[in-house]
């Protein structure tokens, strides 16, 4: 299923996104590392959905708007983005930072949403659970921690670094810091409003997540009592890349 690249201006921000497939809309919100390429899980999702993968404001090939100061700005931006593309009954799938964004969007307005899939989401602090410090980990160590199966990290580390990729990584890292430096990777006000999410929620987590430990899912389950939890064994922080078939099956079953 081919993906096309497009640009749309929303709130003065030229926003780059990829789109492919047919079916009900599915918006994938990427994590701190961005979504620079079409990955196998996107192709697979596109067999059943109209998949939209935006680069968040401040990430990838999207602009870095002046107004982008915190995660709330991102949430309001995405409500405008959904309206601009006139997406209805959309499944919002957010991974890590993107999962946090999905929750921030949904506590504000779910009118265009059919449901949420939160993949090892940031956004909520669980008592006694310490996430890895993204901003202090050396890059190699960070890559290794993303996956349970070391071959994924080795493959990623072996990939050639171009100047364009370095620029992209620095840009993504800058925006991640802007949104998530303090409080680190969460919004202390978010738990107060999670009850406003009336649409179904599925939570997906790798059992061996060494970035945001799976223990956070208990706290999230407590805050979202109607959600369903799917823990994938033998899997790190990025189930959609490390276990794409399991991940897509969960999304397909959830959407039925």
């Amino acid at each position: 299923m081919p993906f096309t690249e497009q640009l749309v201006e929303v709130d003065g921000c030229r926003t780059h996104y990829r789109r492919g497939g047919k079916g009900r809309p599915l918006v994938f919100l990427h994590g701190a590392g961005g979504a620079p390429v079409v990955l196998p899980f996107m192709e697979k999702l596109a067999t059943r959905f109209d998949v939209v993968v935006p680069d968040h404001p401040g990430y990838g090939k999207s602009d870095e708007p002046q107004w982008l100061e915190n995660i709330h700005d991102v949430a309001y931006f995405y409500l405008d983005f959904l309206a601009r593309l006139d997406l209805k009954d959309a499944l919002l799938v957010g991974a890590s930072m993107g999962g946090w964004m999905a929750m921030e969007i949904a506590v504000r307005d779910t009118a265009r949403l059919r449901g949420l899939v939160l993949v090892a989401p940031a956004g909520v602090k669980a008592p006694g659970v310490e996430p890895a410090d993204l901003f202090l980990l050396p890059p190699e160590e960070a890559a290794r921690r993303l996956f349970h199966d070391p071959s994924f990290a080795e493959k990623r580390l072996a990939a050639p670094m171009t100047p364009e990729l370095i620029d992209l990584q620095l840009k993504n890292r800058h925006t991640t810091a802007r949104l998530a430096w303090e409080p680190r990777l969460h919004d202390p006000h978010l738990p107060k409003w999670l009850h406003r999410i009336g649409v179904p929620v599925a939570i997906v987590w790798g059992a061996q997540d060494r970035i945001l430990p799976v223990a956070i899912s208990s706290e999230l389950g407590r805050l979202l009592p109607k959600s369903t939890l799917h823990v994938i064994d033998g899997c790190g922080h990025v189930p959609q890349e490390e276990k794409p078939d399991d991940f897509c099956d969960i999304v397909f079953r959830f959407a039925r």
Partner: protein
């Protein structure tokens, strides 16, 4: 030339092996490594050294701010400056500087600096910094707002020092209904403001602006780098349409003086290398968090990573001009040569570094003050 005795107040009793093993003495080195009884002796020893600096004829005594590190034990240089305020009579006291963006309420800086200025009858030199990258980790302040917060806090402080209060301040990061400083500073219009920096174009453009003309101090860098940035400051002034005065430029550098070159090197070697290779060391991610510098500067540092983050020996440091060490004749000749190349009006000498003990520190200070300083003061 104005000669300033600069102190970092490091934790000289540090277990160097613990520091090396942890990879850095910043942010993550467990504070179990700090012994308050040793700390008590060190603080008092260092304050004595600074007070001795006045007796030896230094023009100013300088302290600075660092947090959660063995590198320097002055999370508040204002405390140190206050201790010096009543124990000194003549020397200026320089706070180089207060890390403005780390404050949630920069008026506290305006107030406390003003207090010292009034207590000392106008002997304060204020300095403003952004804090180094590691401090954005320890303080949690978002580094992507560092420049904005610095500029806004600066504007607030200078207005608080100079404008009749009460007035309201409406910034983006700082908002105050009532700004009405008691006490107002002693010096008119306000204490001098110096800007220490590791070197950045943004800082030079800002400090040298005709509205400010703040003295710019290049800290702990190879002489070639110092020369490049000081020249850049001069060029920027020319670009603004005025000629830079020598008093607008300064260099902060570790110095060690002994009876002969060989003796100086032998005595300083272990201590200097501990300074450069243990106390200063930190990983890139800690030094330059996102947004602390422009992404272009960050990329340049990444390219020079091997050179910047590897060990440096005393011999290499002397070659680089990262350290000035030798007999009084050698040290004087070095600074003469550097001065002729750069014409800095302020020289900040770090006479104590890392583990350098009290007796060697004092002997070096004495030799510098008696045999080097008079000739340097006569320059420019």
């Amino acid at each position: 030339m104005q000669i300033v005795l600069f102190h970092l107040m490091p934790y000289a009793d540090l277990d160097l092996e613990a520091g090396r093993k942890n990879g850095t003495v910043w942010v993550t080195l467990p504070n179990a490594n700090f012994d308050p009884e040793k700390g008590h002796r060190l603080y008092n020893r260092y304050l004595d050294e600074l007070e001795y600096g006045e007796e030896l004829g230094f023009d100013a005594l300088a302290v600075n701010e660092h947090h959660q590190t063995a590198y320097g034990l002055m999370p508040s240089p204002i405390v140190t400056a206050s201790a010096l305020a009543r124990r000194t009579r003549r020397a200026k006291i320089a706070i180089l500087g207060s890390a403005l963006p780390l404050r949630s309420h920069p008026l506290t800086v305006a107030e406390e600096h003003a207090m010292i200025d009034v207590i000392t009858g106008g002997r304060l030199i204020s300095g403003f910094v952004r804090g180094i990258g590691a401090e954005y980790h320890t303080f949690g302040v978002n580094p992507t707002f560092s420049h904005e917060r610095f500029h806004e806090a600066h504007d607030l402080i200078v207005r608080a020092w100079t404008e009749p209060g009460p007035f309201a301040f409406e910034g983006h990061h700082y908002k105050h209904k009532y700004v009405n400083l008691w006490p107002r500073p002693f010096q008119k219009p306000h204490p001098p403001i110096w800007i220490p920096s590791q070197g950045s174009k943004e800082t030079i453009d800002w400090a040298s602006h005709p509205d400010r003309r703040y003295p710019y101090l290049q800290t702990f860098s190879p002489a070639k780098v110092v020369q490049r940035y000081l020249k850049s400051y001069r060029d920027t002034c020319a670009g603004y349409g005025y000629q830079c005065e020598d008093r607008q430029l300064g260099w902060a550098v570790p110095v060690y003086v002994s009876s002969t070159d060989a003796k100086a090197r032998e005595e300083a070697k272990a201590h200097f290398e501990a300074f450069r290779n243990v106390f200063v060391r930190m990983p890139l991610e800690m030094l330059l968090p996102p947004g602390y510098t422009s992404r272009e500067s960050l990329k340049n540092v990444m390219k020079a990573k091997a050179q910047m983050f590897g060990d440096v020996t005393l011999e290499q440091a002397l070659e680089l001009g990262l350290f000035v060490c030798g007999s009084p004749q050698t040290v004087l000749a070095s600074f003469r040569k550097y001065w002729e190349e750069m014409r800095f009006g302020n020289l900040l000498v770090l006479c104590q570094f890392a583990t350098l003990p009290s007796d060697l520190t004092r002997a070096s200070m004495e030799r510098f003050a008696r045999e080097v300083m008079p000739a340097l003061k006569a320059l420019g």
